[in-house]
């Protein structure tokens, strides 16, 4: 794909705005998951602003491409990107996790326009994506199905059941994205339950495997392009990322998997994002 500088500049501006939104909504709610939201910003911004076909005024449009957030705790980044894409007003982000809000703590397809799957229990999204892709095959539709998982999430057996099934059914419209930020809840993935080596595992399960820097828009866009062009197998993009990306005290810090910043920290965080 031809990724010109203008596209990348625009995407970078959106990514900054998405990061600001994440910080603000978490500071307001005083709960939620910043680390794995910040690591996935570029991956989602590239998807929603350059790749996916969708209509925010008609979230149920049958031909839309599907994005499924399997790591369903990373709602801050998804809601923020959906708001920037026009699904709902950005003001609504400030209701995140409050009683009565459409923006639930974990993904909830009945509450939030643009959310495809209800989740929050890790390991289920890829199987759901296979179901979506099978339905598309029945209906002779050719939309794409993207599923984002965490690297810790890949410890769930169901992920590998789905990996096997995707290749078996040759669901080539499915692209798995792994936000490989190296940290899970209790600490570093390599210490808690090592999932390495990821790429050879996915290859052995019959997937086309692409490995990239998940914060570089040129690499991300090329990867999406390559995945969509791969016809004979499902594709997986293993995106190397930094948990808590762009905020110094959150970067690579397991403590910020599921902890909101204080008001003071939020100010510093916004400053760092502005200056990044």
């Amino acid at each position: 794909m031809l990724t010109d500088n203008v596209t990348v500049k625009n995407l970078e501006a959106v990514a900054k705005q998405v990061r600001r939104n994440i910080v603000r909504m978490l500071t307001k709610s005083q709960s939620g998951h910043p680390g794995g939201s910040l690591s996935a910003v570029e991956l989602l911004v590239a998807l929603y602003f350059s790749v996916l076909k969708y209509d925010p005024d008609n979230p149920e449009w049958p031909d839309r491409d599907r994005f499924i957030l399997s790591k369903g705790h990373a709602t801050p980044v998804l809601y923020s990107v959906l708001a920037e894409s026009g699904y709902f007003p950005a003001d609504e982000l400030m209701t995140f996790r409050q009683l009565g809000s459409r923006l639930q703590g974990h993904v909830d397809r009945d509450s939030t326009p643009g959310v495809e799957m209800s989740g929050g229990s890790l390991g289920m999204g890829l199987s759901f994506g296979l179901g979506v892709a099978l339905a598309a095959r029945f209906d002779a539709k050719d939309f794409n199905v993207f599923v984002m998982m965490g690297d810790g999430e890949c410890e769930e057996g169901q992920v590998w059941e789905a990996a096997m099934a995707a290749a078996h059914f040759n669901l080539n419209r499915v692209t798995a994205i792994i936000d490989h930020n190296k940290i899970q809840n209790d600490g570093y993935v390599k210490d808690i339950m090592n999932v390495a080596p990821l790429a050879p595992k996915w290859s052995a399960f019959g997937w086309h495997t692409i490995e990239i820097n998940g914060h570089r828009f040129d690499e991300i866009l090329d990867a999406y392009d390559e995945a969509m062009k791969t016809e004979d197998r499902p594709s997986v993009i293993i995106a190397h990322t930094v948990k808590g990306k762009s905020i110094s005290f959150m970067e690579n810090n397991p403590d910020y998997h599921g902890k909101a910043p204080t008001a003071e920290q939020a100010e510093q965080a916004i400053r760092e994002i502005d200056e990044s």
Binding site: L99, S121, G152, Q184, D186
Partner: protein, 318 residues
Amino acid sequence: MTTEQEIASTRVAYGQALAEIGYTNPNIIVLDADLAKSTQTILFGKEHPDRFFYVGISEQNMMSMAAGLAANGKTVFASTFAVFATGRAFDQVRVGISWPNLNVKIVASHGGISVGEDGASAQSIEDYALMASLPSFTVVIPADAYAVKKAIPLVAEAKGPFYVRTHRPATPVVYSSDDCPFEIGKANMLRDGTDATIIAVGILVHEAVAAAEMLQEEEGISCRVLDMHTLKPMDVDAVISAAQDTGAIVTAEDHQVQGGLGSGVARILAENYPVPVEYLALDGYGTSGPYLELMTHFDFTPEAIREKVKNVIARKVG
């Protein structure tokens, strides 16, 4: 009340109790599925690193590993959030642990809607219906942090599989350090009364006591309050006496109405001594919101219990 209400965390109490018995019982092995900082098994892990295993985000694997350890003489504590311990790994628990009656103690945190902001997927409100349905399981839901401290050593010594639920937030205490009777299978009577009995478990016990005080002071209605901390086997005698002595019962629990405390109480009454019963429980999924707001939203308040008591008394015959 003028004195400030003491609050304490049941999951921290669990971690502390477990770390402590780890010193006297070298046979204890602890497993956790990437939530050790949340369930507080990390406190055991720090003291006894050689007997603590992170199994990662793989609850099914954890439960079957626990079964294997227990089949070879270990006492295993397996912890994660209540939704995953019971829902995600149910088959592994049923076939692998319950059927062969193995010594696995599932102590799950984040029970009920008191989980708060994480919302419906994380709010475990079917957990003890599932676990109580398993023939060999004993199910314990301590009412506060003091009760957890009393319960965990007993659970460690007892034979067979156990399910114990703890909660995310620090919650108001019911007991104190030197005043917390705890015998598995025996309900605690926290207050005697003549007009009705409120039977509660977990975080609703505190609300039940507050409701009984309110009813006595404001309306002259006298309520017995039972903390049914052992949901299974339930204290049949306590339930029957409550029916005989007070003639009306209200149950209160942070769980689905189907298959919970209320169902268990109703079955005992139907078989032995039928009286009117009202149920305070959930019938549907939870939602995101701060814990205390959810408590009000779902009627987990003394005021709501008071109304149930008045309704059930009105239904008494004669």
